[in-house]
Structure formats: structure tokens, C-alpha cells
């Protein structure tokens, strides 16, 4: 069987998830051995329009990018979204909480009306085209990335956790961040990161998005126990969690 042809593309993002691929270090040589990387602008001069798997980093924020992602989707058999910008819209969605004209004026001043500065509400990739697999996180977890790629090469469906970060955090025997009067989003956020942030004594800020069915009742109980207001929680939820329902039909 010939090796699958893989292309990596970026949209609005910090390119930190592509960096996680580079950060596989020696393991990247195994990856290059198992697949044919035919386009990866950040690392390679080569390019190609013929690929089986498209790996997408970044959010869709302009109409020209919408055209581009549709064209990539039409060429790829499998499309993988990597990182929060692509999977849930990520930090880029903070912009959606403001009037977009006002956002442009705030950053670009008098020049803001120029047409090329047009910006549309930020969308995750699956709000524009069908996404087959998601590697969550900001940045994505490189181990999860290689796991997903391995599964695809072996013809298996990757299993992505659908339980909250608290599960992994408890297994690490961390003291709950709520005990330190911090609003930690562990109770509603999808696990799979190994509870990296709370393990570094930093609250979870929800970069992997919510679980499919977040346990709101339990979250409310936690809120009541620690005597905190819903407004305070909302202010933290908005960081990575601004409106994220897929609208792709």
C-alpha cells in the first residue's frame, strides 16, 4: 500500500500547533517515514494539491479563507482539525463578543474601513466544513496527535476522552484549584491533556472545549460550595468558550 499523502495548512492562529509537530523531535522522523508530507508551508518549500489527509490549524475568519477551506475539504479524504483555534474557534472567538466594526477601529484606528481589513465572526473549522477528527487543546497535545495519526494509519477510530479534566486531575492527586479560590474550568472541560495546568498549580481555562454533555448540575454544586457567582464563572468561560456550537449541516 502506498503511503498516505498528508498536507498541513494553517489559518488564523499562532502556528503553535504546527510547532507541536516539530516538537515531536526524534519521533517526527518516524512520522515522515510513515506518511508522505506533501505540503507544509511553515517547514517545507514543496507544495501539492494531491493529498489524502489534510491537517488544519487555525480558525476561519475571512471569506477568502472560507473558500480556501472548502477547496481543501473537497480534495481531502480525511480532514483533521488540530488545536483550539480549529476545533472550537479558541481565543480568536473572543472577538465575537464585540461589534466587529468597533474591533477593527480599536486596532487599526482611522485605517479600519479599508476593505482588506474585513473580518468575519471567528468560526471553528467544523462550522464551515465537515471535520473527521479533532485534536483538541491550546496547544494541541502532541501525544494525542500521534495517537490519532497512528489510529488512522491502522484503520482504527481514535477514542478522544469525553469526561472532564477533573478526572485526570484527581488521578494526579492535585489539590483542587477551587480550594485556592480560583475559578477552574476542570468540571466542564474535556480531558485528554493530562490536567497539565492544574498540575502546574494553574487553573484550567478550558482550552479543550466542553465535554459533549457537560455536567452543569455538578458545576452549579461546586459554585454553591465555594460561594461564587455565575458571572465570575462566565468571565472565565468566555476565554476559550465563546459560542462554539457547530452549524455545519
Amino acid at each position: 500500500m502506498s503511503k498516505p499523502r498528508v498536507a498541513i495548512f494553517d489559518f488564523a492562529c499562532c502556528e503553535g500547533c504546527q510547532l507541536q509537530i516539530v516538537n515531536l523531535e526524534e519521533e517526527i522522523l518516524d512520522l515522515i517515514g510513515a506518511v508522505d508530507v506533501v505540503e507544509w508551508r511553515e517547514a517545507m518549500a514543496e507544495s501539492s494539491e494531491d493529498y489524502d489527509i489534510a491537517i488544519i490549524e487555525g480558525s476561519i475568519t475571512r471569506s477568502e479563507d472560507e473558500d480556501r477551506i472548502r477547496s481543501i475539504r473537497s480534495r481531502a479524504k480525511i480532514l483533521i482539525a488540530i488545536g483550539a483555534c480549529a476545533t472550537i474557534g479558541g481565543i480568536n472567538k473572543l472577538k465575537n463578543n464585540f461589534d466587529l466594526d468597533e474591533v477593527r477601529e480599536c486596532v487599526y484606528g482611522e485605517a479600519h474601513r479599508m476593505q482588506h481589513l474585513d473580518t468575519a465572526p471567528t468560526r471553528a473549522v467544523d462550522e464551515v466544513v465537515k471535520v473527521d477528527y479533532k485534536v483538541h487543546g491550546c496547544p494541541m497535545n502532541p501525544e494525542e496527535f500521534t495517537y490519532v495519526v497512528r489510529c488512522l494509519l491502522m484503520g482504527r477510530t481514535p477514542e478522544i476522552p469525553d469526561y472532564p479534566v477533573c478526572v485526570e486531575c484527581k488521578m494526579k492527586e492535585n489539590v483542587c484549584r477551587w480550594e485556592y479560590d480560583e475559578i477552574c474550568l476542570g468540571p466542564v472541560t474535556r480531558a485528554g491533556c493530562g490536567a497539565k495546568c492544574p498540575s502546574a498549580s494553574f487553573r484550567c481555562f478550558g482550552c479543550r472545549g466542553y465535554t459533549d454533555d457537560p455536567n452543569i448540575t455538578a458545576a452549579k454544586d461546586v459554585m454553591e460550595k465555594y460561594d461564587l457567582s455565575v458571572d465570575m464563572l462566565k468571565s472565565k468561560l468566555v476565554l476559550f468558550g465563546s459560542k462554539q456550537e457547530p452549524t455545519y449541516e
Binding site: G16, Q18, V22, E26, R41, E42, A43, K95, A200
Partner: protein
């Protein structure tokens, strides 16, 4: 008529989305009958509006948000944001916190410089389209680069909690600090990495003749620290190799961002029509203070203070890679001598405005924030290194094209691509960056 003459007469270069750089940039050159009609460095990156997005967010979320400006220099963005927030809130961090953060910052310089020179620049020097073919051509060299990159990343992870987007930086301190045993291990690892760094230096040296001999005097701007005199990445004031200085708080009077006619990118200039930031700027301002190993690396390539060949930025990065490794060993020694202790973090919101600067691997970086009395952000202004290099890249292009046009279109295109890469641009740090209209 020879081919070369045909090439000189008509050149049509249109590089869309230049490869092996962070972010999106285009190169356009048109020459007709030997006359240069258009030379442009263009940036079509999707703007992301960070300065607008941070408004309304609490001070303790600022570094988490703005670190996402750039994956490669997320530590620099987090550090400068944390410092600026602390300045706004009137917080003075402990000596230990300051030293641990500096140690974290050094790790990013090494990681970014190895990544840039090893993965993004080396292929040009070896005539390869990417590092991938080099894996079979020069496996030992590639494995050495990977090893050094891994060490730098593990070093970042120890201090920042993970490799990209730090999770240990909180206003007034660190949420987690390494143990003394971990610091001792790090010191051993760094000592063992020095031979690898020297191997990388020799590999680049073996093909250094492929760095074009091109010079264009410009103003080199970086941080400079007098007390104590240090090759600084983290403290000090703004200085230029032309002898000018300014306090960090007044960065807006240094950057003087402006919009240029048909090209709508915000550019920067101080005393000349453009200025350069990055490793070469730091070297030109601080060369006598570089570590012995950094000095030795610079000497191998004949890099001297006052160099104005932008391609030598790659060499300055190699010298700095050696320097930060040595400087880190010294810093670890100091930390271990003093002994590490857990420190309490105490911050109260208050209304105020704060500014800070650090040297990102690719140049000086400024953040300014203003908060209301609840500690919510009301305004932000950020100025990133690649923005400051923008005009300088354009001015280099204008000087480079006539000088190198007789080499033919392909060589000219290659030279211009290498020129942009040598600046180690970080284009998705697009906070201030405007798109450029194509001029038809």
C-alpha cells in the same frame, strides 16, 4: 543575447505565501528592460485583533490570552505581558521570581534560534527545499539539531510548565517552581549540549559562503542594560547602535508606526527611514558583553560589532544560542547558591497603566495595558518585532534587487526569500500588521 541578459531585462517574481517562515508573506518584483518597476514585501496574514480582544478581561487572564499571539515566542509574549500587568498594578517581583523568569526566557531563545537556523535556514544553505531531504543527506547533523531543540524544549517545560504557552506565569510570581535537584539536572544537560551546539555551528560554517555578501547600514535597536552591564534579553532600556536611548515606557516614540501610501502595512522608523531588531541588533548593541563561547562562535564567522549584513542575523542567533546556554549555567549557579523557596503571591486590582519590553528571539517586543479599579483591562497596545522589521525588509529589498539582478531571476528570488527568512519573521504576531493591497 545570453540568458543572463534576458533575466536582467525582464524579471517577474511573485512568491505567494513564502515558505519556511512563521506566518504569511508575499514577495513581488517586476523589472522591465532592466528597470526596476516594483519591489514589494507584502503581508496578507489574517488579522486577529488581540488588542481589542483583551478588553474586559481580568488582569490574571491577560498573559493566557496574549501568549496565543505567537506559538514560537509564546514565552516572550507571556513574560512581557506579565511584567506589564505587574507594572500597571504596582507589583515588584522577588529576585528569585525575576531570575527564574529570565531562565525561562533564555530557554526560548535557544529553542527558537535552533529551530530557525536548523530547520528553516539550513535547507537554503544546503540547497534543499526543506529539512526532510537533509534527513538522509546529513542524518548526523539533523539528529544533532533535533537533540539541541529537544533540550531547549525540555528546559522551557521545566520553567514554563509546558513547552508552548506557559502556565506558570502569574502576576507577582510563579505558580510552580522547579526543585533544586531539577535545576542541577538542567545544568548537567546544558553542559552536555554545548558540544552539540558547536557541531551545529560547524555545520552552518561549512556552508556559510552561501550567505550573500550584502550590506546596508541601518539603525539597530534593542534592549541595553547598564547596571550591571549585561548582554540583555529581559531588562534595561531601549538603545540604538546610532547612540540613541529611550526608556521602555516611551516605546511609542521609538516605533513611530506609520502607514505608507499604497502599501498599507504599519511600518516603524526611529532616526533613519527604517530600523532593524533581532539577534544582529542585540549583537551590534551588546557585543562586548557576550559570553566567551558566544564570542568564539561570532569570531568563527567573522561577525563583528557594527555588521550591517542582514543575512548575518542567522550567525548572531548561533552566537546567542551559545551565549544563553552559558548565561543560563551561571544563573542556575546563582539560584542554587541562594537556595529556592516557595513564595507567596499577592496582587490586588487597582486602576493603572503599565508597559514592559523584552527581547523576543526575533527582536524587541513591547506590551502596554491599562486596567480599571476592578482589574479589568480597558486598553492595550502591543508592538511586535516583525512589525518593526517590516520597513527594513522593504528597504533591504530595494537595495538588494539592483545589486543582485544580474544573477538571474531564480537566484534573485532565492536571495530575497533568504533575506526575509534571515529576519526570522513571525508574521502571525499580526497584532499591528495590516494587509498590503496588491498594486496591479
Amino acid at each position: 543575447m545570453s540568458n543572463a541578459e534576458v533575466d536582467v531585462a525582464d524579471v517577474n517574481i511573485d512568491v505567494k505565501h513564502l515558505t519556511r517562515v512563521e506566518g504569511h508573506g508575499n514577495i513581488v518584483v517586476n523589472m522591465t528592460d532592466g528597470k526596476v518597476e516594483k519591489v514589494q514585501w507584502q503581508v496578507p496574514e489574517a488579522p486577529r485583533f488581540f488588542e481589542a480582544m483583551v478588553r474586559g478581561r481580568h488582569f490574571d487572564d491577560i498573559q493566557t490570552i496574549v501568549s496565543r499571539i505567537c506559538g514560537i515566542c509564546s514565552i516572550s509574549h507571556s513574560l512581557v505581558a506579565t511584567k506589564a500587568v505587574e507594572n500597571a498594578l504596582g507589583v515588584q517581583v522577588s529576585e528569585q521570581t525575576d531570575m527564574l523568569r529570565l531562565l525561562m526566557h533564555y530557554s526560548e531563545q535557544l529553542q527558537s534560534h535552533v529551530l530557525h537556523v536548523g530547520y528553516l535556514v539550513a535547507p537554503d544553505l544546503f540547497g534543499a527545499p526543506s529539512v526532510v531531504p537533509l534527513v538522509s543527506q546529513a542524518p548526523d547533523a539533523v539528529l544533532t539539531i533535533i537533540r539541541a531543540h529537544r533540550v531547549a524544549n525540555q528546559w522551557s517545560e521545566l520553567l514554563a510548565g509546558r513547552i508552548t504557552h506557559p502556565i506558570t506565569l502569574v502576576p507577582d510570581g510563579m505558580s510552580m517552581i522547579p526543585t533544586e535537584a531539577q535545576l542541577r539536572d538542567l545544568a548537567e544537560t546544558l553542559k552536555a549540549t554545548v558540544p552539540d551546539l558547536l557541531t551545529i555551528v560547524d555545520v552552518v560554517l561549512s556552508v556559510a559562503e552561501n550567505l550573500p555578501a550584502f550590506e546596508r547600514p541601518t539603525e539597530y535597536v534593542s534592549l541595553k542594560q547598564d547596571d550591571p552591564p549585561t548582554y540583555t534579553f529581559y531588562h534595561g532600556h531601549i538603545a540604538s547602535a546610532d547612540g540613541h536611548t529611550a526608556p521602555v515606557d516611551e516605546w511609542e516614540t521609538v516605533a513611530n508606526e506609520y502607514v505608507v501610501g499604497r502599501s498599507t502595512a504599519k511600518w516603524a522608523k526611529w532616526h533613519r527611514d527604517s530600523y532593524a531588531v533581532g539577534a544582529l541588533a542585540r549583537f551590534n548593541n551588546n557585543a562586548p558583553l557576550i559570553s566567551p563561547l558566544g564570542k568564539a562562535v561570532a569570531e568563527k564567522f567573522g561577525l563583528e560589532q557594527g555588521c550591517c549584513n542582514p543575512f548575518m542575523n542567522n550567525v548572531a542567533q548561533l552566537a546567542e544560542a551559545a551565549h544563553v546556554t552559558e548565561a543560563a549555567l551561571e544563573l542556575i549557579d546563582k539560584l542554587l547558591t541562594k537556595g529556592l523557596r516557595k513564595e507567596k503571591v499577592r496582587v490586588k486590582p487597582r486602576a493603572g497603566k503599565g508597559t514592559a519590553a523584552v527581547e523576543a528571539p526575533r527582536g524587541i517586543l513591547f506590551h502596554t495595558y491599562e486596567f480599571d479599579d476592578k482589574g479589568d483591562c480597558v486598553a492595550a497596545n502591543l508592538c511586535i518585532p516583525t512589525n518593526q522589521n517590516h520597513a527594513n525588509i522593504q528597504k533591504d529589498f530595494e537595495a538588494f534587487v539592483p545589486q543582485f539582478a544580474d544573477r538571474g531571476e531564480d537566484a534573485l528570488r532565492m536571495g530575497l526569500e533568504m533575506l526575509v527568512r534571515s529576519y526570522d519573521p513571525c508574521i502571525s504576531c499580526s497584532t499591528h500588521m495590516l494587509n498590503i493591497e496588491f498594486v496591479k
